[in-house]
Amino acid sequence: MPEFAVPFHWRNFRKRYSLIGSRCPVCGRYFYPERHICPVCKRTVKIEEVMFSGKGKVFTYTVVRVPPEGFKIYAPYIVAIIELEEGAKITGQVVDCDPGEIKIGMPVEAVFRKIRSEHESGIVLYGTKFKPAK
């Protein structure tokens, strides 16, 4: 990937630093990330912004052992699709969990963590990961 200018990351800080999503006022479904149009109803209505609790369950998962650029030092690491308690799904890493322990249905909660560093420029990227819930 190219080395992007700072605004590429800066404009996403609000979304990366909190779990902001959307709720469709017609069908009541929740979505992550934000959307302008509900992909189910497909109606021209004003979508509501919501903040997710960060609690959910592992819907499916994998353990990445052959990582892309920037993730070498973290491998092997778990990436999962989490079904949030509001109903929306989200993709993220599951940390503080042994790769042998991860299971579909496992309760997890969101944590704020470093994701990786960007190339030589040294921008440190943060975002949401998940850890097993107590």
Binding site: V63, I81, K89
Partner: protein, 396 residues
């Protein structure tokens, strides 16, 4: 869901020429040489001169990232002697080639052009494996998937774990798919891999993204393929054995996998297949053989179900039955598939049509399917945001 059976193209379209490079690691050939070789072979096969071509449509996923070359269609049109006729590039990740074929089909079917060359090419081995993984990850949601370190094997591992969880599909069943495809690839002179493997080899290969292992994954390959299309009513002027495009269908789904209705299904495959069956008036039972998108083993198993060759959840039983072997009820990936034939992403969709044409002409040698009449090609872009399905026949 709309009814496609009432939408008739203005004209039927036939394929009168095919060409392909061998797939593999071509350290001595550039992107332009690969495209030139495939295009030139297709022109020879159709016995036409480049000046007869009226339009060039070329599929290429990421010439810019793999070899620093954008605007490939402009380069290839010049290289193939097609200038000053128009050229264009299509991009839909690993379905770039099929989308090119579909644009070419629509150009001929509409009456806009009579003689169209379509092709696909990708040169992937000039960058490191790590860089290639990152370039391919560009076809997923950058901010919401790739940002978190997800890879393409990871996406399909999501599907595999969930399919095993919901339907009891076993790791051994999934491993039988690359075994079959390597067996078929061993019979294909242009395949990247011609070695046979066993279920034990698959299950003993290195984990890439649990539960998927190295031998579940299609390779990083170089290659190009091309086909020439003309109106069906003029096909006999060019070829003694023209092959007819009975349906060209395409559907879209969310790029982000976590937004899908059902993670064990590619809805875009279901929709594109439904369109293809409606347009052709055929059903899954009518299809004699198929090339399906086995970028990862699990995706072929899911395609059995989504294309209607097996009931939902029973893809594992179909591979166990032997019905999908050459000589079986519905041979799948007689070419060796993406796994053994190779997966130069932009070329793959055209390469699938190339195999269909060889089979329907009766020129597939040791891979030949008996009484091949209807062949289906299924090409997936990325993790399933784009799916293209074509049905070809040797009968108009």
């Amino acid at each position: 869901m709309m009814d496609f059976s009432k939408l008739k193209p203005a004209r039927d379209v036939a394929i009168v020429g095919i060409g392909s490079t061998e797939f593999g690691e071509h350290w001595n050939k550039s992107l332009r040489e690969l495209a030139g070789e495939a295009g030139s072979k297709a022109l020879h096969d159709a016995k036409i001169d480049p000046e007869e071509i009226q339009l060039l449509v070329g599929g290429n996923m990421s010439g810019g990232m793999f070899v620093g070359q954008e605007h490939g269609a402009g380069l290839f049109a010049d290289y193939l002697g097609i200038n000053p006729k128009p050229s264009m590039r299509t991009e839909a990740a690993c379905a770039s080639g099929s989308v090119a074929a579909r644009v070419g089909f629509m150009a001929v079917a509409s009456g806009m052009y009579d003689v169209v060359a379509v092709g696909g090419a990708e040169k992937m081995t000039d960058v490191s494996g790590e860089t290639a993984t990152s370039v391919l990850a560009g076809a997923m949601d950058q901010e919401n998937e790739a940002f978190h370190g997800l890879t393409f094997p990871g996406v399909y591992a999501f599907l595999a774990n969930r399919h095993m969880h919901e339907y009891g599909t076993t790791r051994e069943q999934i491993a039988m798919i690359p075994v079959k495809n390597h067996k078929n690839g061993s019979l294909n002179p242009i395949a990247h891999f011609k070695n046979k493997i066993t279920v034990a080899d698959v299950l003993g290969s290195a984990l890439v993204s649990d539960p998927l292992r190295l031998l579940d994954c299609s390779p990083i390959s170089d290659g190009a393929a091309s086909i020439i299309m003309v109106p069906a009513e003029k096909a006999k002027d060019y070829s003694d054995n023209p092959i007819y495009i009975r349906a060209s269908a395409q559907a879209s789904d969310s790029l982000t996998v976590h937004d899908r209705r059902d993670i064990t299904t590619l809805d875009a495959t279901v929709w594109a297949a439904k369109e293809a069956y409606q347009r052709s008036g055929l059903t899954p039972k009518d299809i004699n053989f198929a090339e399906v998108h086995d970028c990862f083993s699990i995706n072929e198993l899911i395609a059995y179900e989504d294309l209607g060759f097996a009931k939902k959840g029973e893809g594992g039983k179909l591979i166990e039955s032997g019905d999908v072997e050459i000589g079986g009820r519905i041979p799948i990936n007689t070419s060796g598939g993406l796994k053994a034939k190779g997966h130069p992403v932009g070329a793959t969709g055209i390469a699938q049509l190339y195999e269909l044409v060889e089979q329907l002409r009766g020129e597939a040698g040791k891979r030949q399917v008996d009484n091949a009449r209807y062949g289906l090609a299924h090409n997936v872009g990325g993790s399933g945001a784009t799916v293209v399905v074509h049905i070809l026949s040797n009968e108009r």
